[in-house]
């Protein structure tokens, strides 16, 4: 601000930008906008458009009105379970994995013994792709050949991944295992940047350790909280690979992303129908992200 004002004062003139400035600005702003339109808004709108048609990917595109949505909501058995599982995923990661990650971060930040070791061990699953996590889950949890049933023994082994009432919890556990490490690293980075003077001051004012944490440290971590919140929402709504690795996302592991894939990517070619599912997923994601961001930004202003 100061410099521009100074420049204005020194060099009076109607034009604030030279032609070159404009060209540079145009390129620098225009390119990202074009890319954004072409790669994000284009496909999004195309998908919304396709969701009102039937198209098998080869022949003609025929309009279908709201049929896809009607069929989706009333006659597609995997749809509502998929919605439930996505919400369950969100609740599980948001209410369990994220707070647990924070707890671990605080513990490690306080310098427990071997903290370096814990830090890398807990972070390790984040480096693994969820597909690998799914594979590991199978090695441990498979009914006939898994490690867990081999340890437990018993005549009628539990079908951890095949029982549709049970497998979602097992998969959530595996997803949690990974998400906790992720959240922990984020908070750890945040905690390192908290000024120790703040904590000292709080302690001098007679705040208990608990009060110091919840009233002083956590509020200063606000930017990290926003990031963790957004990541948690994104992770739970786009969850895909782990269930796909376990059983292609069927039989109790339905997720919206899997249904989209099943209908569009596979040999199936129900592109209109699959797009309708994608649009539902888009709306759900937008709902969460927009609400969350608006709230966070508003909170920021009130501060």
């Amino acid at each position: 601000m100061v410099t521009t004002r100074a420049r204005h004062a020194g060099r009076p003139g109607p034009r604030r930008h030279t032609r070159r400035d404009l060209a540079v600005l145009g390129v620098l702003l225009g390119l990202p906008i074009l890319l954004d339109l072409a790669l994000i808004w284009g496909p999004t709108l195309a998908s919304v458009g396709l969701s009102f048609t039937t198209w098998d990917g080869v022949g003609d595109i025929k309009g279908a009105g709201l049929d896809n949505y009607r069929n989706l909501f009333t006659d597609y058995p995997p749809f509502w379970p998929a919605v439930r599982h996505n919400l369950l995923w969100l609740a599980f990661l948001g209410l369990l994995a994220a707070p647990f990650g924070l707890l671990l971060a605080v513990l490690i930040d306080r310098g427990v013994r071997f903290s370096r070791f814990y830090q890398s061990t807990l972070y390790l699953p984040v480096v693994l792709s969820l597909a690998v996590v799914g594979f590991i889950a199978q090695l441990i949890l498979s009914r006939d050949q898994g490690a867990l049933n081999a340890v437990i023994g018993g005549k009628d082994p539990t079908d951890w991944l095949g029982d549709p009432g049970l497998n979602i919890w097992m998969v959530l556990l595996a997803a949690c295992w990974r998400h906790t490490g992720y959240v922990m690293i984020l908070y750890l980075a945040g905690l390192k940047s908290v000024d120790p003077g703040l904590k000292e001051a709080a302690a001098l004012d007679g705040a208990s350790e608990r009060q110091a944490f919840f009233r002083v440290v956590l509020p200063t971590l606000r930017p990290v909280n926003v990031i963790v919140g957004v990541i948690t929402v994104i992770e739970s709504l786009r969850a895909f690979d782990i269930v796909y690795a376990v059983n292609k996302g069927r039989n109790g592991l339905e997720l919206l992303s899997v249904l989209v894939t099943d209908n569009i990517i596979g040999e199936a070619g129900r592109i209109g129908f699959g797009s309708a599912i994608a649009v539902v997923l888009l709306l759900v994601s937008l709902g969460f992200i927009v609400t969350y961001l608006v709230q966070e930004l508003r909170g920021e202003q009130q501060r």
């Binding site: 496909p43 006659d75 006939d144 079908d159 690979d241 989209v260 894939t261 129900r270 994608a278 649009v279």
Partner: protein
Amino acid sequence: MAQSPFSGSDAYGEVAGRRMSRRTLLRGAALGAGAVALPALLTACDSGPSGITMGSNASDAVPKKAFAAAFTAYEKKSKKTVKVNTVNHENFQENINRYLQGTPDDVFMWFAGNRMQYFARKGLLTDISDLWRDFGGFTEALKKQSTGRDGKQYLVPYYYYPWAVFHRKSVFRERGYEIPRTFDEYRALAKKMQKDGLVPFAFGDKDGWPAMGTFDYLNMRANGYDFHIALMSGRKSWNSPQVKQVFDLWRGLMPYHQKGANGRTWQEAAQTLAQKKAGMTVLGLPHPGQQFSAADRPDLDFFPFPEIDPVHGQDAVEAPIDGFLMSRKAKDEDGARDLLKFLATPEAENTYLKYDPNNIAVNSGADTATYTALQKKAVHLVAGARQISQFMDRDTRPDFASTVMIQAIQQFLNNPDDIDGLVNDIERQKKQIFAAG
């Protein structure tokens, strides 16, 4: 939006897309930069060193080697080159639509039946009726399975593998079990096995398709082949009494099936048969053998699925046929025709089966002297069949099989008691899908 935000897009990015996108990317880069040297390089990579391109889904080690042997034999004979692009089996299937509309290879591997007819109807294949006039050694049934709805031939059949009830000879001998011919005998045998501490039917349906074999057989034995085809093509309804009866018969067998089928792969199921923990299993010819050690393999045997309604007896055999198709956009059409002509010969099939003895040649001129006892029996089984079905996911629309039937059968396995609700669900979805055209 449809695909971009999901890591699922990785799954399909794997395939032909990898090769294609690199090419289009290069082409784009060349255009943009106006490079001089690149176009030459690109044309070289576009048409290849003047050879026939072959899209292969044979990604498993055994068939991959066997196909390579057959193509080498052709190269030696014709002095042409065959460039094989092998893609993971599942990915190949998932991407077939895009693959055929993009830049497909001249010839590619695919399946007979409705699954081939679908692409023929969409105009993505080249008619090879002229080649078929000179083909020898194919039965009328094979020709029918290679023919599109328009009456023209599109497929060169290569091999097939019948489905049956597999078991171990030694187990049957030691326990004095008899081969069941009727459904009642079948059920009685299962009961007896259970009493003897065996799992009567080894069973795994995690992949979604293996259980379709059992459904198809129950359906064809109870209602006949014609009903099967009518049901698969959407002309009969799924909530008809006939279909309910099929599920009901199956429910009666459920107590004898291995528990937790939805969490078990067919490989694991076949292993329980190999370990003599299970007595029988319904699978295709190549499946159980792969899970047996070489020493145990001669002990593997099968019998045809037992009779339910005497009117239909054991007439129909489920024997999926694999073969070759020529894409619409074949670049080297003459070469492709020449290669297909070779692949239809007994010689080509002999070369293949030498390396992959888990299938059977379709050409009656093929050499059966080297066949194992099991292969010979399979030939006999198919030769005696009145009708040959392909398999549920090949006889019906792919979208119906993969988005409705896999889920429906898995749901049935979880809860065999709500048959009415299940078949009504299927019928509603069937109507939508078949109405979509």
